[in-house]
Amino acid sequence: MSKQITINPITRLEGHGKIEIFLDDKGNVEDAYWQVVELRGFEIFCLGRPVEELPRIMPTSVAFVQLPITWHP
């Protein structure tokens, strides 16, 4: 009997994803898929914004690379 294992959410990393693992009758991995489950659309909503504001908009795509503003004075 084939079996499906879902790992959701993927943890201890920055980002949103899940993993689907499909096992065959013998319990071996037949197929595995990693899926990104999120879209926000920075690609479009940055268009038309003043370019000097982008260093303050783009870091919120991934805050671990937040450069211009820091809470550590």
């Binding site: 790992i7 959701n8 959410p9 993927i10 943890t11 201890r12 990393l13 920055e14 980002g15 949103h16 689907e20 499909f22 197929d31 898929y33 899926q35 489950v37 999120e38 879209l39 926000r40 659309g41 920075f42 690609e43 479009i44 909503f45 268009l47 038309g48 914004r49 003043p50 000097e52 504001e53 303050r56 908009i57 870091p59 919120t60 795509s61 991934v62 805050a63 671990f64 937040q66 211009p68 503003i69 820091t70 809470w71 550590h72 004075p73």
Partner: protein
Amino acid sequence: MAKPKTVICWLGSCGGCDEAVVDMNEVLLRVAAAVDIVLWPVAMDFKYDSIKRMKNGEIVLSVVNGHVRNSEQEEIAKLLREKSQLVLAFGACACLGGTPGLANLATKEDIFNWVYRDAPTVVNPNGNYPQATSSVNGKTLTLPEFYDRVYALNDIIDVDYYLPGCPPPPYSVMYAVNAVLEDKLPPKGSTLAPHRALCDSCKRNKSKPDRLSIKEIRRIHEVEADPDTCFLAQGIICLGPATRDGCGEACMNINLPCRGCFGPVEGVEDSGAKFISAMASILDAESDEEVAAVVDQFIDPAGYLYRFSVPASILQKSRVGKQTTQQRGAK
């Protein structure tokens, strides 16, 4: 006595709010000792299923950051609401929709067409778009349904408390945590930040002339802003008058004007409208032509005034027409 079960969870989020929690530094160790964290995707290995098995109300506090834009985020928000005694909307996205809320100025179709088809860096010869259900090699895969717009958390579930900021500063996080642990919470629905405007605590306030007036608007790269003088007095857009205090002036301190991440002041529904009202009163222009000249310098008002709050704003309610990718590009 069992330690109170606590969740720190992100929905549509960048991770900055989780980092703000970590920025409590050593205090985090005390918090971790006082509570039992049962879900914190960025830092600990618990799955949603373990929450589903819990009794309703078993979780004392869920700290939820990020906005809601897809069906999975909605499901998690509702699951945490059901299982939690208290839900704290943490950060600008959960409170107001956040920067990704700017996507509400475009349609879902615009976003998909640009991101998966039209953007110059995209290679997608088969024109594949993400599907809620798809079949690959005979296997069925599912993705959350992408909604038409971004929602703030309280559009989806009942929220008990709000902690704004992008991200909330560590001391306000500690204040919120202590308020829960010591059972000293203000009335339900409160925003855990001062009720006054940022200008009221801004160190630059004393540099503000008695009668503030501006003849022209200047962009931040066009002038070398004086680090001690009120930005508005220098003709630079600063949302201080219309924004809630409590950020610790993180941006001011590095000579950047406020963009409103703490949202509107207590009792104000829409900080953008509030700012335009303030702006109108300080405009030094006599004729209609002079007014028009200054207004023309105010490029991208939606991006300045609703940087963090389109989904929660009156702008959202009037829904900015059907702006297509093409029109935006041409502009």
